[in-house]
């Protein structure tokens, strides 16, 4: 899987953030609920930042977790979303 490109939401996929801080992806068939770390990563999706840049930004905001671990989690997240055709890479 190529992680150098900048992810963007597929056509027909929209990120929605709720006042309570939770977030979800809206798709034609319904709703994909996001956990906190997925919501943080997807909030940075703008078609310009690469996956590695997104991981680096999250790592800067989370001093507790090792940055290698964060980078791996973010890659896995985008692979899964790509497989489900929610983002394109």
């Amino acid at each position: 899987m190529n992680h150098a490109g900048a992810p963007a939401f597929e056509r027909g996929v929209r990120l929605r953030r709720e006042p309570d801080g939770s977030a979800m992806l809206l798709v034609p068939e319904g709703v994909v609920m996001l956990n906190g770390s997925a919501a943080a990563a997807l909030a940075l999706v703008d078609g310009e930042r690469t996956i590695d840049q997104i991981a680096a930004e999250i790592a800067r905001a989370n001093f507790d977790a090792p940055s290698e671990r964060i980078a791996e989690d973010v890659r896995v997240l985008f692979d899964r979303l790509h497989e489900r055709r929610l983002v394109r890479l």
């Binding site: 056509r11 027909g12 929209r14 809206l26 034609p28 068939e29 709703v31 489900r84």
Partner: protein
């Protein structure tokens, strides 16, 4: 009224609003789930009323607005309503047969921030498709598939499967590929409205359903994520009912062209229920405490075998409309369930399909057929 007496525990957040803007349609598909008495819905809500309903839906927590019908593009206010829904933060989906989607309308819908379009085809080849639709429209639909994608919309192709077209399922998948479409909904016909009226002509054979299942499994393996295929087995071929609407009054609201508010698009057929109208009450009041929504929400209403069943909060008793159509009582276990004491009713029309001509969907003649 006493507040305590009418307090209703655990009213869930509705996720989805189906706006049936009109029941008018230039097609006459015999599998339409719209009601038979189409002519009684002529007094359509105006655009201002729909805008109010969309605003109330967003306040209730609804996330998605689906615009359907009939044929929703027959309402010239469609782009304005999409815009209202999008401005309220709702995801917007247009469910259409596609014959009126010219570039001018698509441009207006794009400006209105429409998120997604679903177009139906009757069959993967023109002759049969036009025969099912009762009019020559297939070529225009094929044209619409291109225009919608060229306009930048996400597109799902939908095909309702009946005994008339089930054998062409491989070609429907081929059509989706040919047009570069990413999502395909192969919807086994469900028997409501006109489809219930025509069930003898539409019921697929067991061989067709099994063939379809095998074709879809092979296509999914071959195509991976390049084409997402939704194919749900028809409930009358399974031993457990479908969790209709994810439970009555739990996630879905339908508003009919004349403003009636239904817990399920087929619910108007349940003549023992009284449905509130958005002309008289707010959507929120109707959702929370309208008689029809309260009647079968949750598990309190359930008889056995549902009441004591481990699956009562998975299946939610199956489908209330199907229970009513088959038994005359919307408050019994869906006969599609193998545990229903009336499962014989489903087995009879599944296993002994009678060949009968289909009656085309029409606005006028319903009461005489």
């Amino acid at each position: 009224m006493n507040e305590a007496a009418r307090s209703i525990p655990d009213v869930p957040r509705p996720l989805s609003l189906l706006c049936e803007l009109t029941y008018r349609c230039n097609l006459q598909c015999p599998y339409c789930y719209n009601p038979l008495d189409l002519h009684t819905y002529r007094d359509e809500l105006d655009a201002a009323a729909w805008e109010r309903v969309l605003g109330e839906a967003a306040e209730l927590g609804v996330l998605q607005a689906h615009f359907s019908g009939g044929e929703p593009t027959l309402r010239p206010e469609l782009p304005q309503l999409v815009q209202r829904a999008a401005a309220a933060g709702l995801y917007t989906n247009l469910i259409t047969q596609g014959t009126f989607l010219d570039d001018a309308l698509l441009g207006r819908l794009k400006s209105a921030n429409l998120d997604h379009v679903q177009i139906s085809v009757q069959a993967p080849e023109e002759h049969l498709a036009d025969e099912i639709a009762g009019t020559r429209v297939h070529a225009r639909k094929m044209d619409a598939l291109r225009r919608v994608q060229d306009a930048g919309f996400a597109l799902t192709l939908n095909c309702v499967l009946t005994r008339m077209n089930h054998h062409l399922i491989e070609d429907v998948i081929g059509l989706a590929q040919e047009y570069g479409i990413g999502k395909l909904e192969l919807a086994n016909v469900q028997f409501y409205g006109w489809a219930y009226r025509n069930r003898a002509a539409l019921m697929p054979t067991r061989e067709q359903v099994e063939h379809g299942t095998a074709v879809v499994a092979a296509a999914r393996k071959r195509l991976g994520s390049t084409l997402q295929i939704a194919y749900v087995l028809p409930d009358y071929f399974e031993e457990r009912p479908k969790p209709c609407m994810h439970g009555w009054g739990r996630a879905f609201i339908t508003v009919t062209p004349d403003g009636r508010v239904l817990p399920c698009p087929a619910a108007a057929a349940i003549s023992t229920l009284r449905f509130d109208n958005v002309r008289e009450r707010s959507l929120g009041d109707i959702w929370r405490e309208g008689d029809a929504f309260v009647a079968y929400r949750g598990t309190q209403w359930m008889p056995d075998p549902c009441k004591s069943c481990d699956r009562r909060e998975i299946d939610w008793g199956g489908c209330r409309c199907q229970a009513f159509l088959l038994t005359g009582d919307a408050g019994v276990t869906d006969p599609a369930c193998g545990l229903s004491p009336r499962h014989d009713l489903v087995a009879a029309w599944r296993d002994d399909p009678v060949d009968a001509p289909a009656v085309p969907r029409r606005m006028q003649t319903a009461s005489r057929t």
